[in-house]
Symmetry: C2
Subunit: 217 residues, 2 copies
């Protein structure tokens, strides 16, 4: 690298392209978009996948209600327009982090197909992986760790997804995890296997050149 | 790590804390907030710093007009309220990326002290580093690579910072770079030296344990 002699030269683009980041990280950037009913296991599963990815040396991060609703999206309420904008911004941020080379996991109910489609459309090249945490409403209500379903049934929470507001199940999710049938261990394994098959992760024992070939193919 | 036998257990927090990320990355997460007049060198300098950081093995990413205005903030115009919201969201995203372990560089004029203060307040523990690209208006106008100052002087661009809208220079920026006096090379060296002195980066030749001690101190 040489430094220009002129003080006034400007670069048109970032100095580092995405492929260079992938080679450094030894994995691709991606958005793992978890969707499903409240209590369907999105948070639990995404955090366990994050942990497993980190242990494998991946750069990964979770966007969830804790770090988004009270920060970036703290100006948004729960009107239909605000809910849509909430998901839109999450999709944009997840895609920026993917562009930065990270595997970004998002854990939001995100009940509407159109909103999820909007987020998918931001992400190039198969980098958007929709993970449907499929769990019967009955099982979600049985779990109900925060008593939300109980309150929704009592009419104390308006427009509660699955009770008084719709959940539009994915029609073509990359991964459907039956969280009411599988253990966490089995669910994580299903997701990791998919990421390896798609060459987002290296399978254990592969070396960097293999991934580089996959990236460039 | 053991996997819980119950399918229904939930974790309260992310599986990976920030310090663990720092140990893995061998550098701290940080927000490098470049501010200054149009043509003061923010983009040029931030990109060169990004390149230098990447070459040292850091995880880094630039947020700028290219990847923010047309994405996350595409719903925002140029009214005073929208300009403020533009900077607020950039600060939130930069802080998320910092939390994820990255050194995030932002390159926006960000002319108002209050807005920059708001972004600073999001970031814990000295992780917000304001970098003032100090350059005389005369020199910025002389550079004017896109002819914006010329148009602003002709009244064709309303509320142009430095001409018809104020720029509130930082009063206590962590770093003041005199971009009208220093070469790019010198400017980059000044910033890197600061990051090493603050133990955000390891000085060359240090090992991981030194950084770990710095993190825990």
């Amino acid at each position: 690298m040489t430094t220009p002699k002129s003080k006034n030269i400007t670069w048109a683009h970032s100095a580092i392209d995405h492929e260079t980041r992938v080679r450094r990280n030894q994995h691709k950037g991606a958005v793992l978009w978890f969707t499903g009913l409240s209590s369907s296991g999105k948070s639990t599963l995404s955090r366990e996948v994050e942990r497993r990815l980190f242990e494998r040396g991946c750069h990964c991060y979770i966007l969830d209600g804790d770090n988004v609703r009270h920060g970036l999206n703290r100006d948004l309420g729960f009107s239909p327009a605000d809910r849509e904008e909430n998901i839109r911004r999450i999709g944009e941020v997840a895609n920026l982090m993917r562009d930065a080379g990270m595997i970004t996991l998002t854990a939001f109910i995100s009940p509407y197909r159109r909103d999820r489609r909007g987020c998918r459309d931001l992400v190039p090249d198969g980098g958007f992986i929709e993970i449907y945490c499929q769990c019967s409403l009955e099982e979600c209500e049985r779990r109900d760790p925060k008593g939300l379903y109980k309150k929704a049934r009592a009419g104390q929470i308006p427009e509660f997804t699955g009770i008084s507001a719709p959940y539009e199940a994915p029609e073509a999710a990359e991964i459907v995890v039956e969280t009411d049938k599988l253990s966490i261990e089995e669910s994580v394994a299903q997701i990791i296997a998919y990421l390896e098959a798609q060459r987002i992760l290296q399978a254990n024992g592969e070396n960097g050149q293999d991934l580089e070939r996959a990236v460039n193919s």
